[in-house]
Symmetry: C2
């Protein structure tokens, strides 16, 4: 059997399962999720053993320390996966929710009901917990799921998916509700992307290379989870200690992720007051600054880890403790900079001025716009969705953190008592 036919057979089985899943009551889906959570914890040592095979191979392959760290499954992380599944079980079932039923002039009652999408494909890199997070969300929302993880996590992902599937099926889920693609052959990705008759939407989570391949080759709709080149704008008159705390958090709490700040924009009128103290604090946590001319002028005597920013710095997603800083003359200049260089991911303003806060909220085009808070909150757990598939940077269907509702579509439902069209 060709690789295409092999994968197609699995995808067809998941599609069949999805049709049954779509009709399952929440009670059964929740029971399955809780059984999956218990099974992960019960089989914690088996999962750790399989994970060690990945870690061993990773060391031989020369993966970096941060990558190996992300790949590691500790008992605590396994419990966190279980906790995530239990949280999703506790959320309301999105399927069947009816949105805004209205009565028309002719007496028809018209509304929209949430329904599962069908089969969700996800192609992801690195962290094995994604396997459990994504499965939980897809099952809860009545969707089948086809998972293709990174080759560096193949033993871990296979073990997790195996435990989840066995527990789910025992609890009454249709067989093949989740399918992990077990070959590490890169060609499998291309084969998956051809199966528009069986996979309703594909979600790439990973680096730019992966996303480019998926957008280029997918025959089905794609929901991108792209990079984040995020800004924080400190407005004139802002509370400087609030601004400092938020900016340090947005940049330094976890610099390697997509919702971390990359460029700080500061109004000229507050720059003398704000920048020296902030830069000093940032330097103390290991920060490096690339500043515009005015920034250099303000900081040159007090800050060592300082160099001149050039055009490439405004375009850089550093993903480390490097920060570019630009002093601007107005909120308009700040928003123009964001429009020009931003990736429409997470954008924040720190301000006391209501009108400027509202302008920023209305006019800045991004998956999440923050007022007086850290861009690091652009995350499904943090924004109250209970969990997330990732952060969509697409402009259709779902934008920002994708929770259960974003894994559903709707259908119109119409109640009549004999209406016909004139």
């Amino acid at each position: 059997m060709s690789l295409f036919d092999e994968i197609k057979k699995e995808a067809a089985a998941t599609q069949k399962a999805a049709r049954a899943l779509a009709k399952l009551p929440a009670s059964l889906k929740n029971r399955a999720l809780l059984a999956m959570a218990d099974a992960l914890e019960l089989q914690s040592s088996y999962l750790s053993d399989e994970n060690k095979k990945d870690l061993g191979a990773g060391k031989i392959k020369g993966l970096s320390e941060p990558l190996l760290e992300r790949l590691t499954l500790t008992p605590k992380r396994i419990s966190a996966m279980a906790y995530g599944l239990r949280q999703v079980a506790a959320l309301p079932d999105p399927v069947g929710e009816i949105l805004g039923m209205k009565r028309l002039e002719n007496g028809l009652q018209v509304g929209q009901m949430r329904t599962p999408i069908g089969v969700i494909g996800i192609i992801y890199e690195s962290r094995p917990n994604v396997t459990a997070d994504v499965t939980g969300l897809c099952i809860k929302s009545g969707n089948g799921v086809i998972l293709r993880g990174g080759s560096e996590a193949i033993y871990s992902n296979t073990a997790i998916a195996g435990v989840l599937e066995a527990a789910g099926t025992s609890a009454g889920l249709p067989a093949h509700s989740l399918t992990l693609i077990k070959t590490t052959d890169r060609q499998a990705v291309y084969e998956l992307l051809k199966m528009e008759d069986m996979i309703d939407v594909i979600i790439p989570r990973g680096g730019e290379g992966l996303i480019k391949v998926v957008v280029e080759h997918a025959k089905m709709p794609v929901l991108k989870h792209d990079k984040g080149l995020c800004h924080t704008y400190v407005d004139e008159g802002a509370d400087v200690s609030m601004a400092e705390a938020i900016c340090l958090n947005a940049k330094a709490q976890r610099p390697s992720v997509c919702n971390a700040m990359e460029t700080l924009l500061v109004h000229r009128k507050i720059s003398d007051q704000f920048l020296p103290h902030f830069a000093d604090s940032f330097q103390k946590v290991g920060g490096q600054i690339r500043g515009c001319e005015i920034t250099l002028e303000i900081l040159k005597d007090s800050i060592e880890s300082l160099s001149a920013a050039d055009e490439s710095d405004w375009c850089a997603e550093y993903l480390d403790l490097t920060l570019s800083i630009k002093v601007v003359d107005s909120i308009d200049e700040a928003m123009s900079h964001i429009t020009r260089y931003g990736s429409q991911h997470s954008e924040a303003i720190i301000t006391r001025d209501h009108l400027r806060a509202m302008r920023f909220m209305n006019e800045v085009d991004a998956s999440a716009v923050f007022i007086n808070s850290s861009t690091r909150f652009n995350d499904g757990f943090q924004l109250g969705l209970g969990a997330e598939m990732g952060i969509s940077t697409s402009r259709i269907h779902a934008r920002g953190p994708m929770g259960l509702n974003a894994l559903c579509c709707t259908k119109f439902i119409i109640f009549g008592d004999g209406q016909i069209r004139e």
Copy 2:
């Protein structure tokens, strides 16, 4: 300049316009739509003259009478376009609507705000009124629009788009808010489909061939407007006169459209009572029946325009006065038939039984599910959206009639007072 570069230049101009459009107040957008409506009516005779060029060319090309009929712009139809624009002007602005603002434990307030998608591309066939309908919806929802109509309507579409653009720009819309692709070169479609950096979503409205080309070649997301193989199921115990009126309406009121019924499913227990009278009425309006064995048995003595259905009839979108009829033993058999042969467009049940009505609503997977009403209501005007871009058969973003909300995406908005992530 190559065709690609030429179209790219136009698309880039529309993208620039879209960024300005996104920020326009409703008052200005509405003023522009009303000015467009007035201009269409004022220039009615110019539009008719241009339309006659299309009709003349169509006759030489040998277009069928129904196609020529659809292509014709009468003063009444021009007024209908103007009326449509005025209706859209009267609808609330979807942009800026905030959906469900919630307060989280840490005090953050989180909601989602509707925003324009950006640039909408639409590739459509035949009826020139689509040019005005689509432009109105896109402008109102703050989107730029790139239109590619059928070559048979090129004079009409060019005239309509010209009148709309001139009136819109005079009223204050950014130049190039709408762009009609004026070449009839088929290659232009392929060039458009490559412009994922400038067109955020593409909507094909037309035959299967067009949709296949678009899905195959588009680099940007596609919202399909596919065919309709729609069923009506007459349940046991249904009100037979209601059932007859609805079935005649669903099939015969306008058989050439996607929401017309193609297959009638009848419960065995009501078939003797329902079918003879319905078939007689249907025959009187020119209907032809392809029946299953039981249908033939019931109707063979009374109905002339009757023949045996084979497998191909269950798969047929006749788009004329032909109807296939199958007698079934249960709602389960009816729903299985719909799952197997339906195109998930518009599906109806005629019943008095509440539990079966609810099962049909919950379990049938289609863009619109009707209880005791005609499938012909699957239409944006009819379902109270004010207007429509068409009827989406996609499983993401929007399903069923696409109105103003379906031309928007959302962004998360977060109000804080200094929150940082732990």
